[in-house]
């Protein structure tokens, strides 16, 4: 079974594979998996205007592989943090400080939480499984993930670290995460996605749904540093209640292909979201990002910022969408995307868009993509810096305002380290 590849597999084979692996799950979950199997065979790969997937031969990947045994051994979490480690999509360690668990903070494997009616009710509401073949694969075969529940009215800020790692043997990593932050609580989540080098082509499909209840706040930070063999599809979506806040800090560095998006649904008045994306492509990486802010209610605000650097033959697309619906009066939606290209072979597109169906709003966008300023390089080299050092300095300067705005010091340092590695690579 583990050698099965997509274009040689029947629905019956897939169904029995689902029964065999997930038969112990609650009926509602199993039913969704069966539905996804059915959808899977009729759906196409995602259609992305600037990211053709055909030649990437995704159906040649061993998508039905059973997950290999975990590799890394976790190290202890920082004091006061709740932390969960997943290796090859299996939870290898969870630690929640007593002070948090006593107040009802739950951090656990999503697979273990399927009996919870709240999970049944919320999972899959923001990210469906019939959009395309990747969504259906994830729906049918997701192996693991994280459930984080922060109860309402916690006084202290809850700090959570999610570490996802895959060994070189893993070729299919499908996961789901569900984060629910109760009313007037504040949770800071840092997710690290990494895979080992040296493996076969791997499909990574990661879905994260975030629900922020009235007056709650989620600061979600993520840094992705997967191997070049990874074909990654990373979807994140959040729903915000009254006066809720969802801040995204996304650092994208790894994977040969990455299709990544994060979406904020500002469902109730007063909700607000800010998103910062930093990306850096090198070699022949292809990165297709999008960020979307939907203003469904009055007096909602969104601010989206993205900065990226492309070197060698890397290629990026950043699509920003700010949509303000009719009736969402007094809303404020902004976006700004800037990309810097370090070589003539690199390519970056920044595609901002605003869809505004309400008059009484403020909306603005700005986008630019351009080569590194050769006059600036000459200026710096004329003072004795080598060309490489001059470029490094310009890239630093370009990314600094965005990276330094990341509130979490640990994540900020890791993003800087990742940038440094990419510059020198």
């Amino acid at each position: 079974m583990s050698e099965m590849i997509l274009d040689q597999t029947s629905q019956a084979e897939l169904n029995s594979l689902v029964e065999e692996r997930f038969g112990h799950e609650p009926e509602w979950s199993l039913k969704r998996r069966r539905e996804a199997v059915h959808a899977l065979l009729n759906l196409d790969w995602p259609r992305l205007e600037r990211t053709p997937l055909k030649k990437r031969k995704l159906d040649q990947i061993a998508l039905f592989q059973a997950v290999p045994a975990p590799g890394v051994r976790p190290t202890p979490a920082p004091d006061g943090w709740a932390e969960i480690w997943l290796d090859n999509n299996q939870v290898v360690s969870v630690s929640v400080p007593d002070t948090l668990s006593q107040k009802g903070v739950r951090l656990e494997a999503l697979n273990e939480a399927l009996g919870d009616p709240e999970v049944e009710a919320q999972l899959g509401r923001l990210l469906g499984q019939d959009e395309d073949k990747v969504a259906a694969l994830n729906g049918a075969l997701w192996q693991g993930g994280v459930f984080l529940r922060v109860p309402a009215h916690l006084r202290e800020v809850v700090q959570v670290s999610i570490r996802c790692h895959a060994t070189a043997e893993a070729q299919a990593v499908f996961s789901k995460n569900l984060i629910i932050c109760g009313s007037e609580s504040h949770v800071v989540v840092t997710q690290r996605l990494e895979t080992d080098d040296g493996g076969m082509k791997t499909m990574l499909s990661e879905n994260t749904e975030i629900i922020v209840e009235d007056g709650g706040r989620v600061d979600f930070g993520a840094i992705q540093q997967c191997a070049p063999t990874v074909e990654g599809f990373i979807h994140r979506s959040g729903a915000l209640g009254h006066d809720a806040v969802l801040n995204w800090n996304i650092g994208e560095f790894g994977s040969g292909l990455v299709v990544s998006d994060h979406v904020s649904h500002l469902n109730e008045p007063g909700a607000s979201t800010a998103s910062t994306t930093v990306f850096f492509g090198a070699g022949s990486q292809h990165q297709d990002y999008s960020a979307k802010s939907y203003h469904h209610a009055p007096h909602t605000t969104s601010n989206m910022v993205a900065r990226g650097v492309m070197k060698n033959k890397a290629r990026s697309v950043f699509t920003g969408l700010t949509q303000i619906e009719a009736g969402a009066k007094g809303s404020d939606g902004r976006q700004k995307e800037q990309t810097l290209m370090l070589s003539g072979d690199a390519r970056a597109d920044a595609i901002p868009s605003l869809i505004i169906d309400e008059r009484d709003v403020f909306a603005a966008h700005a986008a630019s993509a351009g080569p590194i300023d050769r006059a600036a390089v000459f200026y710096l080299t004329s003072r004795g810096l080598s060309e490489a050092e001059a470029e490094r300095m310009i890239v630093h300067g370009f990314l600094a305002p965005v990276i330094d705005s990341i509130a979490l010091p640990e994540l900020r340092d890791e993003v800087w380290d990742a940038v440094e590695r990419k510059i020198r690579a």
Partner: protein, 257 residues
């Protein structure tokens, strides 16, 4: 350190298909201040940038040597590390890089590996030079040239020069767009380096700065070459008679020949 010598010999240079320098010869030694004057569009800035090694210029003949070493074979950063400095007419704005961080990196780039300047030594020197140039200390933490006024950019070029202590400095229209007070400050900076181990080439369109930095030699450049050289009195004569005078005189001498 020995007295520097920059020898520009029969230099020919072009951009794309356009010949800019047509056999320019000039020697600058330590202890000397040279001024190159000339009408706009005569190749003065191109000369400055090409001496520093800007990649857009194509050298088609001649040589540039600093202390006997072939500058044309070197990249801009190597030329800088050999002691050449160019104060630019239009310095680039570098977003996100503070003047202080940049200068510290530039100083360290000139040092042997493992002997970087200590933060304290650097800060002390920077404070001292900034005080000397009447600069607000806040400048050190502003992004390099970003949002600077024309005068602030020129002052910043001089600050860099004093911090990096070059052996030969080329100052490209360091006076353009400056009011008299700013010209005085800039001149004070240049004069402070005067000595046997420092030579300067001041490129200017105006005579005014030469009231404050007294040149030893004045050269008039027209159409990619030096057409007339003399002492400081030449600048005054030029100021009185204008560039038309040079053109007419040049035409006459060509006719006589």
């Amino acid at each position: 350190m020995s007295t520097p010598v920059l020898e520009i010999s029969d230099l020919h240079m072009r951009i794309d298909e356009k010949q800019i320098l047509k056999g320019l010869t000039l020697t600058i030694k330590g202890g000397e201040i040279h001024a190159v004057m000339g009408p706009n569009g005569t190749g003065k800035t191109s000369l400055a940038q090409c001496l520093m090694g800007h990649p857009r210029y194509q050298i088609t003949g001649g040589s540039v040597r600093l202390d006997g070493q072939d500058m044309l074979a070197m990249k801009p950063d190597e030329r800088a590390r050999h002691g050449l400095f160019l104060a630019m007419q239009y310095p680039s704005e570098i977003s996100g890089v503070t003047t202080a961080n940049f200068l510290r990196a530039a100083i360290n780039a000139r040092r042997e590996d493992g002997s970087s300047i200590s933060l304290k030594e650097f800060r002390d020197r920077l404070d001292e030079v900034m005080r000397y140039l009447d600069m607000d200390p806040k400048f050190a933490n502003r992004y390099l040239n970003e949002g600077f006024s024309g005068g602030e950019k020129k002052r910043n070029e001089i600050l860099q020069m004093l911090m990096l202590k070059p052996r030969i400095a080329i100052l490209d229209e360091i006076d353009s767009g400056l009011d008299i007070d700013a010209i005085k400050v800039v001149s004070k900076g240049v004069n402070s380096l005067k000595g046997a181990d420092f030579g300067a080439l001041i490129i200017t369109h105006y005579q005014r700065i030469l009231d404050y930095v007294r040149p030893d030699f004045v050269h008039i450049m027209v159409d990619g070459t030096i057409v007339k050289s003399g002492g400081p009195e030449l600048a005054l004569e030029l100021d009185k008679k204008g560039y038309e005078w040079v053109r007419t005189e040049l035409a006459q001498s060509t006719n006589q020949a």
